[in-house]
């Protein structure tokens, strides 16, 4: 029996090693590449670990952002940090606003009885079935007409609508887990509905609100289609757009392209690993990334 347990563990760890290599391997290679000289990247066979550790491409991005055209750095590298800040602004704003508006919308869906509740819940979910591409066409047309194209505020607004249904769904299922007695006690003590939400529901839902905010941030950070279609200049490019500008340009050195890729996944990966519990619980109770 002991023998069998040992064999089982060996099989498990071989499988786990394969999964581990497949999961983080490709990303680690990207990180390793970003710390090498361009000419080392062109080695055959490839050099697995950077030796020495080269920070040139990272310095380029910072110098380019500060010195502009004088730095002699490629265009994409110069505008990258700006786009990084834009991504933070858009994703951060969406996370905050989506959780605030979402929480108020989720409360009645979880707790109140009113006509059309089922319809509202269904409509909110169904809105996510419409492909973004078909909505993109009129949205771009209108944004250009009313002068809202090329503004990051527009990106906040558009991303909100895709994130909100998701946040509402997640929060209403979380609110349902809060014991009704607590709310009733508050009502008997003379709290209004709004006070019940503020003093009982929201404080008790902190874990749920946190997962919703983090997921909203991550989903918005990775959004590409609207970021691409609604931006025309570095003032509104997000990091995913600049990454695509890098990746589709053959004249930029590999190491610059790779470095931009690494930098733009640092925030989401750090977030994902730090808040993994919140994310996993949020993913399991809510919908999906897409």
């Amino acid at each position: 029996m002991k023998q069998r347990a040992r064999i089982r563990l060996v099989v498990i760890y071989i499988a786990a090693a394969i999964v581990l290599a497949g999961t983080v391997g490709p990303f680690l290679w990207l990180v390793s590449s970003s710390f090498q000289y361009e000419r080392q990247l062109l080695n055959r066979p490839p050099q697995w670990l950077p030796n020495p550790i080269v920070l040139d491409s990272y310095r380029e991005i910072f110098e380019g952002a500060v010195m502009g055209e004088d730095s002699g750095v490629p265009y994409q590298s110069r505008i990258f940090l700006r786009s990084f800040a834009n991504s933070f602004f858009v994703a951060g704003s969406v996370a905050v606003i989506a959780v605030m508006a979402g929480a108020y919308a989720a409360y009645p869906l979880a707790r109140l009885r009113f006509r059309g509740r089922q319809v509202l819940l269904f409509a909110i979910l169904a809105s996510r079935l419409i492909p973004a591409l078909s909505l993109a066409i009129p949205i771009v047309l209108v944004a250009k007409r009313i002068g809202m194209s090329d503004k990051i505020v527009s990106l906040v607004f558009i991303n909100l609508s895709f994130i909100l249904p998701y946040v509402i769904w997640l929060l209403q299922s979380y609110f349902k887990t809060i014991p009704m007695e607590l709310e009733d006690a508050g009502r008997i003590d003379g709290c209004s509905r709004l006070q019940v939400v503020h003093k009982i529901i929201l404080p008790l839902s902190l874990p749920g609100l946190t997962s919703a905010a983090i997921l909203a941030f991550l989903l918005t950070w990775g959004e590409f289609l609207f970021a691409l279609l609604l931006s025309e200049s570095p003032s509104s490019y997000t990091s995913t757009v600049v990454v695509s500008l890098f990746a589709t340009d053959v004249d930029v050195s590999f190491v610059s392209i790779i470095t931009a890729g690494v930098l733009s996944v640092i925030p989401p990966i750090c977030f994902a690993l730090i808040f993994q519990r919140y994310i996993i619980s949020g993913l399991l109770s809510g919908s999906l990334k897409g």
């Binding site: 590449s33 492909p131 078909s134």
Partner: protein, 290 residues
């Protein structure tokens, strides 16, 4: 105040945002799809009824991308489901380090699709890519190749690159499904002398079926809408080999600036996606009841 009025007030901000950015554009997209509306020929906009639709339905530029989309989606969903089922079975076993492995699954999940495309573009580089290097070292190929340069290898690698960031979520969802299966069912099966394969077929698979159906439906919907990775990795090429419907809509609308034709093909994509979702739902759900 009645609960209905409260619900209205509470959900107003969220509902207004969703309506403004989803419902209104959807209505406009329907409107555009019924018109001749090309930005290159302003002033010639006119109502044409269902002409755009009938044009598409008799056009190879619709049927060929549709076929490509199907091929891509079926392959991608198959790869995602098989691999995530295997990983979730592994993570369902108890072993030291399981939590770490589960957390690290979030690394690919957190990577934005555009950065993922850039990562694979680097891995698959025809001259310096790691995939070429590894295949060469192991003697699988005798000289470096452009994996994205011809069929079928471009489709295979596109599917792998796409699946890489989609496997983690599918795995977590399937794992949560596995964890609802009570352990004593397995124990009594072992007593009855059922082997590991028999237990998988007679216990795991049937009891996992509801979650499996949900994951298949969602992944199918996502795969049908694929766009980001195409934009960076293949741009529909080589020679339209990866020209999926999402890419066709993009080029039609934002390169040829034919918003009428673009909207109508986008509607067709939306309709097909919805039909598939319903079909799968009915089909897979029936299977559960039996």
């Amino acid at each position: 105040m009645s609960q209905g009025a409260l619900a209205l007030i509470f959900s107003a901000p969220a509902v207004l945002i969703i309506a403004a950015t989803i419902l209104v554009p959807f209505g406009m997209a329907v409107f555009l799809s019924l018109h001749n509306w090309n930005l290159k020929r302003p002033g010639r906009e006119r109502f044409v009824g269902l002409e755009n639709y009938s044009d598409w339905l008799s056009d190879r530029d619709f049927w060929v991308p549709l076929q490509t989309t199907f091929t891509f989606a079926i392959l991608a969903v198959a790869v995602i489901i098989i691999i995530s089922l295997l990983i979730s079975l592994l993570l369902n076993e108890r072993f030291p380090g399981r939590g770490v492995l589960r957390a690290l699954l979030l690394v690919p999940w957190a990577i934005p699709s555009v950065v993922n495309a850039l990562l694979w573009k680097w891995l698959l580089n025809p001259q310096y890519g790691l995939v070429n290097a590894i295949f060469f070292e192991f003697g699988i190929i005798t000289e470096y190749q452009n994996m994205l340069g011809s069929m079928p290898s471009v489709m295979i690698w596109l599917v792998i690159a796409y699946s890489w960031i989609h496997i983690p979520l599918a795995t977590l969802l399937l794992l949560s499904g596995l964890q609802t299966i009570p352990g004593d069912i397995y124990e009594s099966a072992i007593v009855d002398g059922a082997g590991i394969w028999q237990r998988f077929l007679t216990i795991t698979l049937p009891l996992l079926r509801p979650m499996l159906s949900i994951v298949i439906i969602f992944e199918m919907i996502f795969a049908f809408k694929v766009f980001d990775i195409i934009f960076v990795l293949t741009a529909g090429g080589p020679a339209d080999a990866t020209n999926v419907l999402g890419w066709q809509i993009y080029t039609e609308t934002f390169r040829k600036l034919d918003f009428g034709a673009g909207s109508s093909i986008a509607m067709l994509l939306g309709g097909i996606t919805l039909a598939l979702a319903i079909l799968f739902y009915v089909f897979l759900d029936k299977g559960v009841e039996q």
